[in-house]
């Protein structure tokens, strides 16, 4: 360890081993929560987006209503409804679900997943709708069935168009996950709030956590830029 860092860590009262471990646990919780909700949300969003583009209203209508409700209300309200609401369901406390949902982590995961799935559905829908018609015609001319066309032509080409908007959604989700601290989860923000109330040092506690979030954000931005370059490499000008 560099000498100045060593001295600084020795001299200050706040960033001791205990608090650094506390921040680290918070970081792990935040990453788990964000990663799991994004993964589950994406898995939900692909079929929902296909349904959303379907012609019959009884297929696309419910999906529209779902995305409209979840995108039109604050995530905090959705979290409160799920967190406080689950405990109120008749008889749930006697089933095995209660062992899962009495931990605040799982209601928060459910709320975040449903929220990000709604936004992601709309992103993917936009990308599917924007598929050049010639590509679909060409696939039809080759005699591809609907499922094959979806799998080989429409979805891969939609993925390329969606990746930029999706990267924004991922960063939005990382930042939105800070509200998990409201339902007693000790994520990064929760750790900062604990450390603030222990030392009454708002600047140290919150600026440290702000810097951590910024580092996470920049890692995500960098990763997505690389992914985008990889996915769009066929569109690069010749010679670059």
């Amino acid at each position: 360890m560099p000498d100045f860092l060593f001295q600084w860590l020795n001299q200050n009262e706040i960033f001791t081993a205990t608090t650094i471990v506390h921040y680290w646990d918070g970081l792990v919780t935040t990453v788990q929560l964000v990663f799991l909700s994004l993964l589950l949300g994406l898995l939900m969003a692909v079929p929902l987006a296909i349904m959303r583009t379907a012609k019959p209203v009884w297929v696309s209508g419910p999906v529209w209503l779902y995305t409209y409700l979840f995108r039109g209300t604050p995530l905090l309200i959705q979290l409160y409804i799920i967190y406080y609401g689950i405990a109120q369901i008749e008889g749930i406390q006697q089933t095995f679900w209660w062992t899962i949902f009495k931990e605040p982590f799982y209601p928060a995961l459910l709320a975040f997943t449903l929220n990000t799935a709604a936004y992601t559905t709309e992103i993917i829908r936009g990308a599917i709708v924007a598929t050049p018609y010639g590509e679909i015609e060409a696939a039809k001319a080759y005699g591809m069935s609907w499922a094959l066309r979806m799998r080989r032509i429409v979805l891969p080409s939609a993925a390329r168009r969606a990746v930029q908007a999706y990267s924004n959604e991922v960063i939005f989700m990382l930042h939105a996950s800070a509200i998990a601290s409201v339902v007693t989860i000790v994520d990064l923000t929760g750790a900062a709030r604990n450390i603030y109330s222990r030392f009454y040092a708002p600047f140290d506690a919150f600026i440290a956590v702000a810097v951590l979030y910024m580092i996470l954000t920049f890692i995500l931005v960098y990763t997505f830029r690389k992914l985008e370059q990889h996915l769009l490499r066929h569109q690069r000008p010749i010679g670059s």
């Binding site: 409209y68 409700l69 039109g72 209300t73 604050p74 995530l75 905090l76 309200i77 959705q78 409160y80 409804i81 406080y84 609401g85 109120q88 960063i171 990382l174 930042h175 939105a176 996950s177 800070a178 509200i179 601290s181 409201v182 923000t189 900062a192 709030r193 603030y196 708002p202 600047f203 919150f206 600026i207 956590v209 702000a210 979030y213 910024m214 954000t217 920049f218």
Partner: protein
Amino acid sequence: MLDLKGYGPSLMEGALVTIELALLSLVLAVSLGLLGASAKLSSNRILHGIATTYTTVIRGVPDLVMMLLFYYGGQVLVNNLSDYLYEAYDIDWFFQFDPFISGVLTIGLIFGAYMTETFRGAFLAVPIGQIEAAKAYGFTRWHTFRRVMFPQMLRHALPGIGNNWQVLLKTTALVSIIGLTDMVRVAEEASKAERAPFMFFIPVAFVYLALTAGSEGFIRWLDKRANVGVVQGD
């Protein structure tokens, strides 16, 4: 039909607080956005640097963390300043940093960064020939801004402003966390007291839906007005 157990009036008051908070934050955000966009487009490197740092930092930090920092940190700063003023100049001055002010400041500052990007793009979309023409007519810089740049920029900025406003409206819910009695806070307290979360949170969710749907219509109307005289292909 809708039984709110007597919490109806305080929910209404909370809704008004939410709207007030959102509108004030919007005013601050638009002002900061215009300033930020001007700074980003200016040839002054210091101004450009400040604006770029501002937008980068804001977009890297969660809104809730920023709000907690402002609310708790702002009070510590005020306390220190108050102590200093009392000891050095014998001035007895104190200021209580309340959640409403911190909320407006934080949300305004956050969305100011997003507005900066919106306005920057919109200013760049105004054809350079328009500005040259204004110069040729002997317009001052202020006149060029007010008569030529601003009205034409607005047309390009409106969709972005609309999106930012929709997100801003939903972000106001966070101010309940630092203790502002907006409708989310009222609903939370009521649902704890009555042990009926659905009864209070679902109406609040619908108020948010009504607000976002209403502003969507209003933005569409504004957009139509701003685009009068623009021939649009279909």
